[in-house]
């Protein structure tokens, strides 16, 4: 959501800047308005997949789910027994 909002904000800012330029030029606005819409469409086509990908990334499991954890205490931490043997592979997300 944060990435999406940032991208949308940037798209709108660009459109706004271009629109202001258009007014100062006081020419025919139609081509530039079309250009603004095109720019926004391109921006959204990038932003939406990016947001979805980000969301998928955030949902991924870097830690394992354990149906019935066998909790052990190691150095004050409550861990599942498998944490001790799968440390590197599990926690690095690889």
């Amino acid at each position: 959501m944060a990435v999406l909002s940032t991208l949308i904000e940037r798209v709108f800012r660009c459109v706004d800047v271009m629109h202001n330029v258009e007014i100062m030029d006081s020419g025919d606005q139609k081509p530039l308005n079309r250009r603004g819409l095109l720019f926004m469409a391109v921006g959204l086509s990038i932003a939406v997949p990016a947001a979805l990908a980000t969301n998928v990334m955030l949902q991924r499991n870097l830690l394992p789910t354990v149906a019935e954890p066998s909790a052990v205490m190691v150095d004050g931490w409550v861990l599942d027994e498998r944490d001790l043997s799968q440390t590197v592979a599990t926690f690095s997300g690889e």
């Binding site: 959501m1 944060a2 909002s5 955030l58 949902q59 499991n61 870097l62 830690l63 394992p64 789910t65 354990v66 149906a67 019935e68 954890p69 909790a71 205490m73 190691v74 150095d75 004050g76 931490w77 409550v78 861990l79 599942d80 944490d83 001790l84 440390t87 590197v88 926690f91 690095s92 997300g93």
Partner: protein, 497 residues
């Protein structure tokens, strides 16, 4: 108006509708609510507008049982009472907190959650909070652990008021009290006792004394002690010593069932962002503030009953967008290989707050030492039962297992708690939440006040504050005691004057 015995004599009226002793949250909220209904109120405060050693020293007493804060440190004796110490945390009791438990003697309230919920908005407004809601919902499919959250309408206040200066009630309401034509607030006015019509059980007047040893008598239709858990017990013990246990002490219950919220620092935790993803509110909150909300992991009521434990919660305090400190990682070899993606993990400190069961041996008594007004000082004998330790252990374990089960993180647990060490080896400490001593109930043999906070055996003596709580839940008591004070105000307003 505010009158100070240090600066002049008190222009007391011949008679008031209500005399309230104590200007902390319980007394102030009651006084202001009664005054708004057109009642004439006298509010008696033993201290000054600000802290003075002369007043504070009167709070000295003995600590006999478990180690806790000294009695003259845990409380404040001036306008606004102990809200001068208040961290501003507002929490609501769970509906299940009001219900009796089969394995917990003396549990259960004579009122239920709905009886207080109608005062929800008024209490929040009085305490300076925006409207807020509360949710308790299962954290996963097992139903063992709930996630408890509160959400405020103001985006600036998350869970509590500590982002701003917590409201110091004495400071905040001083101008209102000064302007009030319905409330006479008396400062440096030390309550020393009641006069009683023994034939009717009616309190006829309250006696106060200033530091120049001038004495004043206050006449009123009703009297309310709102002096906090310890001082209310102390006042009632004095009263009953003179009047043969006729005021709430028919069952020798005054001062008994003192409760606190044992607090235990569990250690560090880390959680993944997925912890927040099922909760839409957190998503919006994070988008706005770029910081996650605090949350509490609490055994569900069903899990608690099934495992014979009380209510408790593990606060995942102030999650920060940062990896664990290098010092913490060094203590645990398994953590060294953990890839801490800074945009994926949150970390912080986990703290456990636990309910304590009502225990008649945990109590407030009088000592043989006396204060400058000739009143015996209080002694606090705080005791825990094995059930209380089991509650702390069961809650910490349930929270840690929930994180493991769902791949949401890991947390530390105090090793002595994990190893079921005796209570004296577990480094819990007091939250200075003085609860009980004048417990509410229908039966005078097991309680001190009735469901309307009226002292058993008295016609016109009431208690306002956490002293009347029959059980403690694990929520900080201020919010609930203000709700109760407003309920008491409605009861008094309904009485003829």
């Amino acid at each position: 108006m505010i009158y100070n015995t240090k600066t002049g004599t008190l222009p007391l009226q011949d008679h008031y509708n209500h005399c309230i002793i104590g200007s902390g949250p319980a007394g102030l909220s009651l006084a202001i609510t009664l005054a708004a209904a057109g009642r004439r109120v006298v509010l008696v405060e033993a201290g000054d507008r600000e802290f003075t050693s002369e007043s504070q020293i009167q709070y000295e007493g003995e600590v006999l049982g478990l180690d806790t804060h000294a009695l003259d440190v845990a409380r404040l004796r001036y306008l606004g009472g102990t809200t001068g110490h208040w961290t501003g945390r507002l929490l609501q009791f769970d509906p299940a907190d009001f219900e009796p438990h089969d394995n917990v003697p003396l549990s259960g309230w004579p009122i239920n959650h709905d009886d207080l919920s109608r005062y929800h908005d008024r209490a929040a407004r009085f305490l300076g909070a925006p409207p807020f809601g509360r949710t308790r919902r299962p954290a996963d499919d097992t139903g063992a652990v709930d996630i408890v959250t509160q959400h405020f309408s103001s985006a600036d206040t998350i869970f509590d008021l500590r982002k701003d200066e917590p409201r110091r009630l004495g400071t905040y309401f001083a101008n209102e009290l000064e302007r009030s034509t319905s409330i006479d607030t008396l400062l440096n006015a030390n309550f020393t006792g009641f006069a009683v019509d023994t034939a009717t059980g009616r309190i006829t007047s309250a006696t106060i004394q200033d530091y120049a040893d001038n004495r004043y008598s206050i006449s009123a239709d009703s009297f309310v002690t709102a002096m906090g858990g310890i001082e209310t017990s102390r006042a009632l013990l004095h009263l009953n010593a003179t009047y043969n246990d006729m005021f709430g002490n028919q069952g020798d219950m005054v001062g008994r069932c003192f409760m606190d919220h044992p607090r235990l620092d569990l250690g560090s935790y880390f959680i993944t962002k997925r912890m927040f993803s099922p909760l839409p509110y957190f998503g919006a909150e994070r988008l706005i503030h770029r910081a996650p909300q605090q949350m509490v992991l609490s055994p569900s009521p069903g899990h608690a009953r099934q495992n014979h434990i009380l209510n408790a919660g593990v606060w995942l305090n102030f999650p920060r967008r940062a990896p664990l400190s290098q010092d913490t990682i060094e203590t645990a070899p398994f953590l060294r290989n953990l890839t801490f993606d800074k945009d994926y993990f949150f970390s912080g400190e986990a703290v456990l707050f636990s309910e304590q069961s009502p225990n008649p041996r945990s109590r407030i008594t009088l000592t043989y030492q006396y204060d400058r007004f000739g009143l015996a000082k209080a002694a606090l004998d705080w005791q825990l039962l094995p059930l209380d330790v089991a509650t702390m252990r069961g809650t910490a374990l349930a929270a840690a297992q929930f994180l493991i089960r769902n791949g949401l993180g890991r947390m530390q647990v105090e090793p002595n708690l994990w190893n079921s060490a005796p209570a004296e080896d577990i480094p819990f400490f007091s939250s200075s939440h003085h609860i009980g001593g004048a417990r509410m109930g229908p039966d005078p043999s097991t309680s001190v006040v009735d469901e309307n906070c009226r002292v058993h055996g008295a016609q016109n003596l009431f208690v306002s504050g956490a002293a009347v709580f029959p059980t403690s839940g694990f929520a900080n008591p201020t919010y609930t005691l203000v709700q109760l004070a407003m309920r008491l105000a409605d009861h008094l307003i309904a009485q003829p004057t």
